[in-house]
């Protein structure tokens, strides 16, 4: 039994996702962060974050709303969306998280192979899981990592996502353990 067993991470899908993807998220979170997870729809949509000038959705207000909407028992909360996300200074992001905070968001908009017909579902699931683990890592206070194989390595493009593994490197595992120790002592 891990120190975080009594904690639960909420995954909040906004929209409809393949059941195979949703079924793969829980085990991946358990394997990486030793904690349980639940699917709880918290937001009907993210239209409030739409920017008509950019035709994209700003991820930051979604995080604020997620934090406010999440039940108190939720340890962390992550929204999974299909819309293309941005933060004002960048053209796009795969996701965003509150560093050392509660909320995170991941977009699947740029995780498809546009030329792949039919879409390669397994690859898409792997990518989405990696992005979910990466953004949740930030909520555990993990920064971007220099190790190219580490899940916390920053991805600029889809090729970077494919290149890195779905595991934390030894260094990030130690930092995660430190953070978990800190959280459980609070």
């Amino acid at each position: 039994m891990s120190a975080l067993d009594e904690h639960t991470i909420i995954i909040s899908p906004v929209g409809v996702f393949d059941p195979k993807l949703l079924a793969a998220i829980g085990p991946a979170i358990r394997r990486t962060y030793q904690t349980g997870s639940q699917m709880v729809p918290l937001l009907d949509d993210i239209d409030f974050a739409f920017d008509p000038e950019r035709s994209q959705y700003c991820s930051t207000p979604v995080l604020t709303k997620l934090s406010a909407t999440a039940p108190k028992w939720a340890f962390k909360v992550l929204a999974l969306v299909e819309q293309d996300l941005f933060i004002p200074i960048l053209t796009h992001v795969f996701g965003e998280a509150q560093l050392g905070g509660k909320a995170a968001i991941v977009s699947t908009a740029r995780l498809y192979d546009k030329l792949s017909r039919p879409p390669d579902l397994d690859t898409f699931i792997k990518r989405t899981i990696k992005e979910i683990l990466h953004e949740l890592g930030h909520t555990f206070n993990l920064h971007h990592c220099r190790d190219h194989n580490c899940i916390m390595h920053y991805s600029n493009c889809i090729a970077d996502v494919d290149r890195r593994s779905d595991q934390l490197c030894r260094y990030c595992r130690i930092l995660l353990a430190d953070e978990i120790k800190r959280l459980t002592q609070q």
Binding site: T60, P88, I89, T91, E96, A97, L99, H138, H144, N156
Partner: protein, 447 residues
């Protein structure tokens, strides 16, 4: 990017916040300013590696901030950012010292690559600066050599203390290899990827030591025309080796103690604290306990430095290492000078083993270097080693230091058929100095 300090200057809150969050996730330490004047205020009390500076701002423009900051912080990389595409503004900014230019919003990969490029080039510049300084000192680092019991103990000790970040004090006579031991500790430590910066406290006039160690801000004193990094700053992330620590003045001892206690320091004339991110290894051939009693050395600094200490054994206490060291130096110098001497004769080795080497490894190294230069045969012979020649001692003797020097120079010149280049190398003075001494002592080449 662990300790990279970034200052974001943008009058739009949302831009500052989103860029700040992104960089913090990248492990950067971020501070934000909403105007040029706020940025200048922040810079009075803090240092940054990178400034991301918006060109178009209310009040003081980004270009104005750039011009003001570049004068006092030449090493800080300034990247101009703007929502307005203007090639002429970009050119003006680059002319004034900006290192790059980005148009909002950035592609994440573009920003990521730029930050990485800046960090790499700053690390390279720091390393180059150090290498230039090191080259000036003509320091020759060799791997430590020794099979003797005392040296095996030293190797084990180094292996034990290298992984710690504790301050170390190395004692021992001149020429015993204290600098090599410090370098060995550094190369086996977690800081091995960082620079190894050495500073000889006894080699520099006292009035220059402060600026050499701490660096100075432009205008700090009459000759400070440019802001200059000191050894402490150059050692960031690595090891600072303070050789001959016993020679340092009381004033500098107080400054060093402050660095060790507070882990921050200031450039001369600077007001911004700089983090002391290095390990200190100090060395001395003096008895610091006696220096403390005589009030030449501060006791509190001694205890700060003396966290781990060990003594490098003199060569006379590890004579079994002499053959190994001698062969090593012979190989090195014969290769460097392309001279024919390849082996050491048994008689020469016997004499070397009998000698006590008061100057330790450095004396042995110099003796072999000289022997290689003047040696005519394939084997190094006893007469190639100057220290064993009674006639040399006779020639070099005299009533005054001046007379001794004159006789010694004449002896070396005669021995080398008045070859100025070869003689100056043996005497370890440059050719112009040798010429002036020949003139001053009125020495004449035999007919």
């Amino acid at each position: 990017m662990g300790s990279t300090k970034v200052l974001i200057v943008d009058d739009e809150l949302i831009m500052r916040e989103s860029l700040g969050d992104w960089l913090e996730q990248d492990g950067c330490h971020v501070e934000k300013a909403c105007s040029g004047s706020e940025a200048l205020d922040l810079l009075k009390n803090a240092r940054f590696d990178i400034m991301l500076l918006d060109i178009k701002m209310e009040g003081m423009s980004g270009l104005e901030v750039l011009k003001r900051v570049k004068g006092s912080e030449p090493d800080m990389a300034i990247v101009m950012i703007t929502a307005y595409a203007s090639v002429s503004t970009a050119i003006e900014a680059m002319k004034n010292g900006a290192c790059d230019y980005l148009l909002k919003p950035f592609d994440p990969s573009e920003l990521s690559l730029l930050i990485e490029k800046i960090i790499d080039s700053q690390a390279q510049a720091s390393e180059n600066l150090y290498l230039r300084e090191e080259f000036k000192e003509k320091t020759r680092f060799e791997s430590m050599i020794g099979q003797s019991g005392p040296m095996q103990t030293i190797f084990n000790l180094i292996a034990d203390i290298a992984p710690t970040d504790s301050t170390a004090l190395i004692t021992g006579e001149t020429g015993t290899g204290k600098g090599l031991a410090a370098k060995a500790i550094h190369s086996q430590s977690p800081r091995s990827q960082g620079p190894f910066v050495s500073f000889n406290c006894g080699a520099i006039p006292e009035q220059l030591v402060e600026s050499e160690l701490f660096g100075h801000q432009k205008g700090a004193f009459t000759d400070a025309r440019e802001t200059r990094k000191g050894r402490l700053e150059m050692a960031r992330g690595g090891t600072l080796f303070l050789d001959e620590i016993g020679e340092i003045s009381m004033r500098m001892q107080i400054d060093l103690l402050r660095v060790l206690e507070d882990r921050v320091f200031f450039r001369v004339g600077g007001t911004q604290p700089i983090e002391a991110d290095f390990r200190i290894i100090a060395a001395t051939n003096k008895n610091l306990a006696e220096a403390i009693k005589a009030r030449f050395f501060r006791e509190d600094l001694f205890y700060r430095l003396n966290v781990i200490s060990f003594e490098m054994p003199p060569l006379r206490r590890r004579k079994e290492d002499i053959p190994l060291l001698a062969k090593h130096f012979l190989f090195q110098f014969s290769r460097e000078t392309n001279r024919p001497v390849r082996t050491i004769s048994r008689d020469a080795m016997d004499e070397m083993m009998l000698y006590d080497w008061p100057g330790n490894i450095r004396e042995l190294e110099n003796a072999i270097e000289r022997a290689v230069v003047i040696g005519k045969e394939k084997q190094l012979m006893p007469h190639d080693l100057p220290i064993f020649h009674p006639d040399h001692i006779q020639h070099a003797s005299g009533d005054s230091i001046r007379e001794m020097e004159k006789n010694h120079i004449k002896y070396i010149l005669d021995k080398n058929q008045w070859n100025i280049a070869g003689s100056s190398k043996i005497l370890k003075i440059d050719r112009s100095t040798l010429y002036s001494k020949i003139k001053s002592y009125k020495l004449q080449k035999p007919a």
